[in-house]
């Protein structure tokens, strides 16, 4: 069981935390995407290396969530290339299920399955996709649940959990598939400050364990503290990129205005 006990630590502990080491896990090159006449992504390029924590920030409508959804092939792009964990997302012949085995995603609205308990929510994919037995999957579910501090809530239904607890179950559900990359789409936007804190703590632990993560967030303090790369998006473009320190010394007037309004 020791392999399961720490489900996110998959022989990645000593991975250097910089994009220079190894091929990027995620590489977007000149990505364009429109919804009808509305240009949402206007030539986005972005590299995220193994073990990196990339925080995408920006106003609503800046294209940050769309960019994240494109990485997981939830949206199709019109131009450019996206490579994720060796999968060519722009390729029409993309094997989506293979991609989704490598990439976990957590949504703003949790999207737990309301008819299943926390544990059953987590067990579903390992049994259906990885062919685990119920007993194996239950052990795994217990392990990832205690990892997010919710071991005692295994038998609770989502409606019996607080928003923060639901979101942590959702994170655990993704972790159970042992993804190589985790995407977080404004996962704390629906939570009050206290519940936000407990979810961010789980994410911070994940970061410390070496998980490669891309998060779309409005939590500037979290971005500054945890992210190894901060990406400011504006009008469908990557406007400014840097480390967390970039937020203290913005180079563009747009970022300066954004931080001024946002903090």
């Amino acid at each position: 069981m020791s392999a399961v006990a720490n489900p996110t630590r998959a022989a990645r502990e000593d991975t250097p935390r910089s994009s220079q080491a190894g091929a990027p896990v995620v590489r977007l090159h000149d990505v364009h995407k429109s919804f009808g006449a509305l240009k949402v992504l206007d030539g986005v390029s972005l590299d995220v290396g193994p073990g990196e924590i990339a925080a995408i920030i920006g106003q609503s409508g800046s294209g940050k969530s769309t960019a994240l959804r494109c990485i997981n092939a939830l949206e199709t792009i019109q131009q450019g290339t996206i490579h994720v964990c060796g999968h060519a997302i722009h390729d029409p012949g993309l094997d989506r299920r293979a991609l989704r085995r490598d990439v976990g995603i957590v949504f703003q609205s949790y999207n737990l399955f309301p008819h299943l308990t926390a544990e059953q929510n987590i067990m579903l994919a390992p049994t259906c996709v990885k062919g685990m037995t119920k007993a194996q999957a239950r052990d795994l579910a217990r392990a990832v649940l205690s990892h997010v501090g919710l071991a005692e809530k295994a038998e609770h239904y989502p409606e019996q959990l607080s928003g923060g607890q639901q979101q942590r179950v959702a994170i655990a559900r993704s972790l159970a598939m042992r993804p190589k990359l985790m995407l977080f789409d404004e996962v704390t936007s629906a939570l009050d400050p206290q519940l936000t804190g407990e979810v961010l703590k789980v994410m911070e632990n994940l970061a410390r364990e070496g998980m490669t993560m891309i998060l779309v967030t409005h939590e500037m303090a979290f971005a500054r503290k945890v992210a190894s790369k901060v990406v400011y998006m504006h009008r469908g473009r990557v406007w400014e990129t840097g480390t967390g320190a970039m937020l203290d010394d913005p180079q563009t007037p747009e970022l300066r205005a954004f931080i001024g309004n946002g903090l």
Partner: protein
Amino acid sequence: MQSFGLAHVEFLAWAALWTVGLSAIAFVGGGLLGFAVALLRVSSNPAARVAAIVYIQIVQGTPLLILLFLIYFGVAVIGFTGVPAILAAGAGLTIYASGFLAEIWRGCIQSVPKTQWEAAECLALTRWQRMTRVILPQALRIATPPTVGFLVQIVKNTSLASVVGFVELAQAGKLINNSIFEPFTIFVTVAVFYFALCFPLSTWSRSLERTLNVSRR
């Protein structure tokens, strides 16, 4: 001339059993067929969707009476003579029920939020797994009250099966009336029988609606 008595009520009670039997055939047959059509209706294949839509529109746009005539007499024209009344009535009601149940259930499947599909998709579940493990269990809860409610429609509409010579409750009432001619007494009794069959169903439907909405489980 004999007047309305216990023997007549007994005859009606037997006929009511046939009404129940015919309703059961229509519900089971229509349920199976309707479920298949509902799945086609939400399929990712456009051709399957169009076929399902056309089927539903044709069935819903045809009076049940005409459907029954078509099956009973129409089948004879293309060579199958002497179709038993129960078969014709059962087939007609099955088709009728399938057209409506398919549309009711399509609505229930589509009322499960899109984000549930997305979450299941992002866990690498196949389309079939998404449907059977995530969407249908939730749709089932939504579907139960309107489905039971529709059962009432099926029970009442079995009365049309009398036109193909099937002796169910309504036809039995007509037969009794032909011999003793006491239409008011007879058809009030028939109506009471229908009410006794339908009232529990609609009560059940309403209580299901309450209980299933209180707890989301």
